[in-house]
């Protein structure tokens, strides 16, 4: 008998990701599981803010319909199950919407599970003690608290799969765990088997950023070239029961799966590579082994694990004021000297209008707006420069001053000033994100089931 191989593919790496590669994986990936990651650090808080202001906002991925319409036909035809964190602050609502879409497409009797339990806004101040970033009591966040959510692990998803769910939709779950849950279920891995779970969440980490392992965020002409970087596929892992895996992608697509792309993704957003903390296990990447088996096929094995920690990470979103920003332009000989005088004018104007800012940046885009203080002193003078100004303030009224003073540069500014027509007030709200820890037994997840 051939050894069992489970094929897990990626459907998205973030909320704004492309939809076409997900459809391609659903139709041509021969997948057992298609998994979606759609949340960033501030996604839950931003969704809470929007839900308060807009009662019609359902609280799940705004691209839920687009993504599901693209993949449901292929997934149903190929017997591919779906695991997705598109539930955001309303997993049950997302599950209900998926049921509607399934019926619309003529698929009856499909079981959809919703994993709830991540949101703990109402009790976070009782359940947590200290803010990890600054050691202060989490109670100090009470006046500005928007929302708090626990990073759940793979276990509630496994529970849903065991109960026969074809589609599992969650709120906040640690990104790698979304991709590992199918492996735990298929191979019957024990939640405390840290050796296997280490490999599983290590593979999950390779898949969670989608195209970042198949040639995205990678090409550098002359140094790291890949074919057709406009036509990237999302990755697929072929995982064997013994824990070895092959990272690959659908044939005929652009990009590449190489030792270089896999290595870069392995350390992406990792701190200590021997101790990558996840809710399920502590992953050790320092024992990883890689081998290029053929074109776009990299074998991965040897990633190891250590026992999970007794706590889960909590992410706490808070209102933290506003950012006002705008930019205007110079070009031609002397562009930089005019930009420098414009900077001086703005600094004086902000003094005159009494701008109260917690942080203020006036940069020259084209010279130092991206790398800031890391810009080499001998960087060449650019032909074109944008003066880009941004301030973080406590109130919206203060943030508005940034755009208003840039407006003044139109007729009261420097020679040869290029400017856009003002659009709105050029401010946005800041949601600060803090972290804390909660004992895992205090935050049980619940699973509910719907059927199309």
């Amino acid at each position: 008998m051939a050894k069992k191989v489970v094929r897990v593919g990626s459907g998205s790496a973030w909320w704004g990701d492309r939809v076409e590669p997900a459809r391609l994986n659903a139709e041509r990936g021969a997948l057992d599981y298609l998994c979606f990651e759609t949340m960033a650090e501030a996604t839950v808080s931003a969704a809470q803010v929007r839900a308060r202001r807009d009662p019609t906002f359902p609280g799940y991925d705004t691209y839920l319909d687009d993504r599901m319409r693209a993949v449901l036909p292929g997934c149903r035809r190929n017997g591919t199950r779906i695991v997705s964190n598109q539930g955001w602050i309303n997993p049950t609502g997302a599950a209900a919407r998926i049921v509607e879409l399934l019926r619309e497409l003529g698929h009856r009797g499909v079981k959809v599970a919703a994993v709830e339990g991540s949101l703990i806004t109402d009790r976070v101040l009782q359940l947590t003690d200290r803010i990890l970033e600054n050691g202060q009591p989490t109670a100090t966040l009470a006046p500005s608290l928007i929302s708090a959510e626990v990073y759940l692990g793979a276990e509630p998803i496994v529970e849903a799969l065991k109960a026969g769910a074809d589609i599992v939709v969650t709120g906040r779950v640690a990104d790698p765990s979304i991709f590992m849950a199918p492996l735990m279920f298929e191979f019957g891995w024990d939640p405390l088997d840290h050796a296997r779970l280490g490999l599983g969440n290590g593979l999950g980490h390779l898949l969670e950023c989608g195209a970042q392992v198949t040639g995205g965020y990678f090409p550098d002409p002359g140094f790291k070239d890949v074919p057709e970087p406009w036509n990237l596929a999302f990755p697929i892992a072929e995982v064997s029961e013994d824990g070895t895996a092959v990272i690959t992608k659908v044939a005929g697509t652009g990009g590449a799966v190489t030792l270089q792309t896999v290595k870069e993704q392995m350390l992406y957003e990792v701190h200590d590579p021997a101790n990558y903390l996840t809710p399920d296990v502590v992953v050790d990447f320092t024992t990883a082994r890689l081998e290029q088996l053929g074109p776009d096929r990299v074998k991965v094995w040897g990633i190891s694990g250590k026992p999970r920690t007794p706590t889960l990470k909590v992410s706490i979103g808070c209102t933290e004021g506003f950012i006002g920003e705008d930019m205007f332009f110079y070009a031609g000989p002397g562009a930089l000297r005019r930009a420098q005088l414009a900077k001086r004018v703005l600094e004086e104007r902000f003094r005159i209008v009494g701008l109260q800012a917690e942080d203020l940046r006036i940069d020259f885009l084209g010279l130092n707006a991206i790398h800031g203080a890391a810009t080499p002193a001998d960087a060449p003078e650019p032909y074109e420069v944008a003066v880009r100004v941004a301030a973080r303030t406590k109130t919206k009224e203060e943030a508005v001053k940034v755009g208003r003073e840039v407006d003044g540069m139109a007729v009261s500014g420097i020679a040869h000033t290029g400017k856009r027509v003002p659009h709105q007030d050029r401010t946005r709200e800041v949601i600060g994100v803090w972290s804390s820890l909660v004992p895992r037994e205090k935050v049980p997840a619940t699973v509910t089931y719907l059927e199309s």
Partner: protein
């Protein structure tokens, strides 16, 4: 010979809160010891000028011929608070490609895209 890091290694940065991790990967196993010897945490931090306000921790990973630099205070207070246009710092990893290394001439064939010498 003096060579910019871009010919010796490739790099990728990632974000978590106010911390950027910048991982540097040798193009060939033979080049990895050069990174370990010459790209110290102190030199790395100094090369980024004032852009990294906190501590830089350095994690060599022999199995990947890579070094991970964990840079605290590099993202303007955190992705959502940052006033930088590139608030995730995804372009930060490019800066270190300009770091100069001393490379033995014998390793020249291992370097990537080295311009022909005049």
């Amino acid at each position: 010979m003096k060579v910019k890091l871009q010919h010796v290694a490739h790099a990728r940065s990632g974000d978590k809160g106010d911390t950027s991790n910048i991982a540097v990967f040798a193009y060939a196993p033979e080049l990895y010891p050069l990174l370990v010897e010459q790209l110290t945490a102190e030199r790395f931090k100094a090369f980024y000028g004032g852009a990294i306000r906190g501590e830089v921790l350095r994690y060599p990973v022999e199995a990947l011929h890579a070094i991970n630099f964990v840079c605290h205070g590099a993202l303007g207070g955190g992705v959502s608070r940052s006033l930088c246009l590139d608030n995730y710092g995804k372009s930060l990893s490019a800066a270190v490609l300009g770091f100069e290394l001393e490379v033995p001439d014998a390793l020249a064939p291992k370097l990537v895209n080295l311009p022909a010498r005049a």
